[in-house]
């Protein structure tokens, strides 16, 4: 008995040594090293270590475990399940047993209500095992879907993920990638060349940068594996383990007390001047707590997790610095997905609004900005978590409605005195409403200036929205944090039921 244990230990040690040699040369870590970064020191327990591969595949001692390490451990003391594909065993290819091992921990995690983290580094389906390996994928995908909205699922792409393999990450809540060593695509450069005669490199077809900036497939991009995996730990610290657990609370929090006054001056009065919305988020939230999601994709909308008095909240904010903060297709999709995620796990939402409208243009219309914008609208209307909106400056037209306005179900809708809420901006509005007067005027420029001022004072003014009950309160910017703390505190008991139905039909 003792002997068996020792031999097994030896096999693993020898394999790890070889694996280290291979992976380190590529600037990558081994599956075991990755797991040891993810979990609290020494808490990872492996399962099904010595499952042997499916019949018919050559069985060398290296094939023990069939190229994947699965198990459970603790992250900041909380139980988390994980699987890590081992590229040094048959290229990390997914065979029947490999797939079953992953499915096994997925099913266990769902039963126990614990998050699942996948560390992917695989060449794809194992060709020798044919349809069996495809059906193993299918089982994993189905588990992904069954777990969606019940337990957080995080995928970390640390090598190739090609063909069907990309769909498991795509079904999970968050995808992490590393620069230069991780790739995702349905069809590789060789096929692209053959079919379309286009020359494209791995990196420019499906590298980390492409997915983090252009396609939006990856929410997070890191330069190296260690920081990427440590960021997974950080992300988990904001999340409950499942959709029934209450949100984690951090007891020791700090915030920038002395910077609150600065809020009175941070937004430029001239509505043509941009500013950095993240500066405002940093001041409002607990110190260093803002963790941005999709940092490099659709930068005109900023989304991310943060803490207010130690408690997790989701922030959705327009970014006036990029595309003037307009909403476009990518921003709508990004926002909608984030709002849906927060609502699934009962994370309250803070909306910081400075939006001139939807981005106009043939390109946007033809690519369906109507149905994509509807996703964001649907997500906000459908979300039952506490929702607090603060209008900082512009809030025009359809974009006003979409950004969790009062009648879409916003719980508290606040505005700074600099806010302007209207169907459209002053210049555009007077051009339409006062078209005749302007055409007949002796001095159209002076008249226009006068009309614009009148429009600002009498229509777009936040105090008017307040009088009509569509803004709950116009507040001093410097008191925003304390207002938010109070608002989210009293909203913590919010209960709202949707009418009974199988599920809504979100405009996908």
């Amino acid at each position: 008995m003792e002997e068996t244990f020792n031999t097994r230990k030896q096999i693993l040690q020898e394999h790890e040594k070889k694996a280290q040699h291979k992976q380190h040369l590529k600037g990558k870590l081994t599956a075991r090293e990755r797991l040891s970064i993810l979990f609290d020191d020494g808490t990872f327990e492996e399962m099904a270590t010595f499952n042997s591969p499916y019949e018919g595949v050559s069985k060398s001692s290296e094939m023990y475990g069939d190229g994947v390490i699965v198990g459970q451990g603790f992250v900041q003391g909380k139980s988390v399940f994980a699987f890590a594909q081992d590229f040094t065993v048959q290229g990390g290819s997914l065979g029947k047993i490999h797939g079953e091992k992953i499915a096994k921990i997925q099913e266990m995690a769902l039963k126990l209500g614990s998050p699942v983290v996948g560390l992917l580094d695989s060449g794809g389906a194992r060709i020798q095992e044919g349809v069996q390996s495809l059906s193993a994928y299918a089982r994993i995908f189905r588990n992904n879907v069954r777990s969606s909205g019940v337990i957080p699922q995080i995928s970390v792409i640390l090598g190739p993920a090609a063909g069907g393999a990309v769909y498991s990450p795509a079904l999970t809540d968050f995808v992490f990638m590393t620069n230069k060593t991780s790739f995702m695509f349905l069809t590789g450069p060789d096929v692209v060349k053959e079919v379309l005669n286009e020359d494209v490199t791995l990196e420019s077809l499906g590298g980390g940068q492409v997915h983090a900036e252009k396609s939006g497939v990856a929410q997070f991009l890191y330069d190296d594996e260690e920081h990427a995996i440590l960021a997974v730990r950080k992300l988990l610290s904001y999340l409950p383990s499942n959709n029934y657990e209450s949100l984690p609370v951090v007891k020791n929090f700090e915030f920038f007390q002395s910077k609150q006054e600065m809020l009175n001056k941070l937004v430029p009065e001239d509505s043509n001047q941009p500013y950095e919305i993240k500066d405002i988020i940093d001041i409002l939230m607990d110190k260093d707590s803002f963790f941005e999601v999709h940092e490099n994709f659709a930068k005109n909308l900023v989304v991310g997790l943060a803490r207010l008095e130690g408690k997790t909240i989701g922030v959705v904010a327009n970014q006036p610095k990029v595309l003037a903060g307009t909403l476009d297709i990518d921003a709508s999709v990004k926002g909608a997905r984030f709002v849906r995620f927060c609502d699934s796990y009962n994370i309250p939402l803070l909306i910081l609004e400075d939006v001139p409208g939807f981005l106009p243009g043939v390109n946007q219309e033809h690519n369906g900005v109507i149905r994509h914008g509807a996703k964001l609208l649907y997500a906000f209307c459908d979300a039952t978590v506490p929702k607090v909106t603060v209008i900082l400056r512009k809030s025009y037209g359809g974009a006003y409605i979409v950004m969790s306005s009062k009648n879409t179900g916003g719980d508290f809708n606040l505005a700074w005195p600099s806010a302007a809420i209207a169907v459209m901006g002053p210049e555009g509005a007077v051009k339409i409403v006062n078209r005749r007067e302007l055409a007949d005027a002796e001095d159209p420029v002076a008249l226009k200036a006068e009309l614009v001022k009148k429009y600002r004072d009498e229509i777009a003014n936040p105090f008017i929205a307040e009088e009509k009950g569509l803004i709950d309160e116009v507040i001093n910017p410097s008191e925003t944090r304390s207002k938010l703390v109070r608002a989210f505190q009293i909203l913590s008991t919010k209960q709202l039921y949707r009418p009974s139905r199988k599920h809504g039909n979100i405009p996908l």
Partner: protein, 181 residues
């Protein structure tokens, strides 16, 4: 600060701090002990910490530090009013950087394209000017908002195809910046 970026989560921590100019410092931090920087014990003491500001003492001089920007493992700080940018690397991330840098090709010239349709309201550079990362190149007014377009790389302005008042459409190539050695 670097605590969360360390692979081994025990009390002794080893990391490499890399300045943007390529200088690197191997730092060993031991709890309650003198830090070791590039194999030398350095007597650096934290005098006090305030909301957004730290004060250190080193060789009887005081150094006031403010972290002005932080993104992942890179930090920009003001130390006695001078700006420094560096990244904090662990042993494995440092080795990876070295391996991948070997494979990387030469940096290429870069064309700055219009991020959105709009009107050029100001041009801040001339052909031949040297620019740093973050230097403003031109201002583009779009959606009634003034946007300053900044240089993403350090280099020299090779070509400039715009002047004040030009109207541009999305993805027009506006400025070409060449890499300087």
């Amino acid at each position: 600060m670097a605590q969360e970026y360390v692979y081994k989560r025990d009390n002794s921590r080893l990391f490499v701090a890399m300045r943007d100019n390529g200088r690197r410092f191997k730092v060993i931090m031991n709890e309650d002990k003198i830090p070791v920087i590039n194999e030398k014990e350095e007597d650096i003491r934290l005098v006090r910490t305030e909301e957004s500001h730290m004060c250190f003492e080193y060789r009887e001089r005081r150094f006031h530090c403010v972290v002005t920007k932080r993104n992942k493992n890179s930090y920009t700080m003001l130390i006695n009013g001078v700006e420094y940018t560096f990244s904090v690397e662990s042993v494995s991330s440092y080795l990876r950087k070295k391996i991948l840098a070997k494979d990387a090709g030469e940096e290429q010239d870069l064309s700055i394209k219009a991020p959105m349709p709009g009107k050029i309201t100001a041009v801040y550079v001339d052909p031949g000017d040297e620019v740093n990362v973050g230097d403003p190149l031109f201002a583009l007014e779009a959606m009634k908002m003034q946007n300053e377009i900044l240089s993403p790389i350090k280099g020299k302005v090779l070509e400039l195809t715009i002047k004040e008042g030009d109207v541009v459409v999305k993805n027009d190539e506006l400025v070409k910046i060449g890499v300087v050695d």
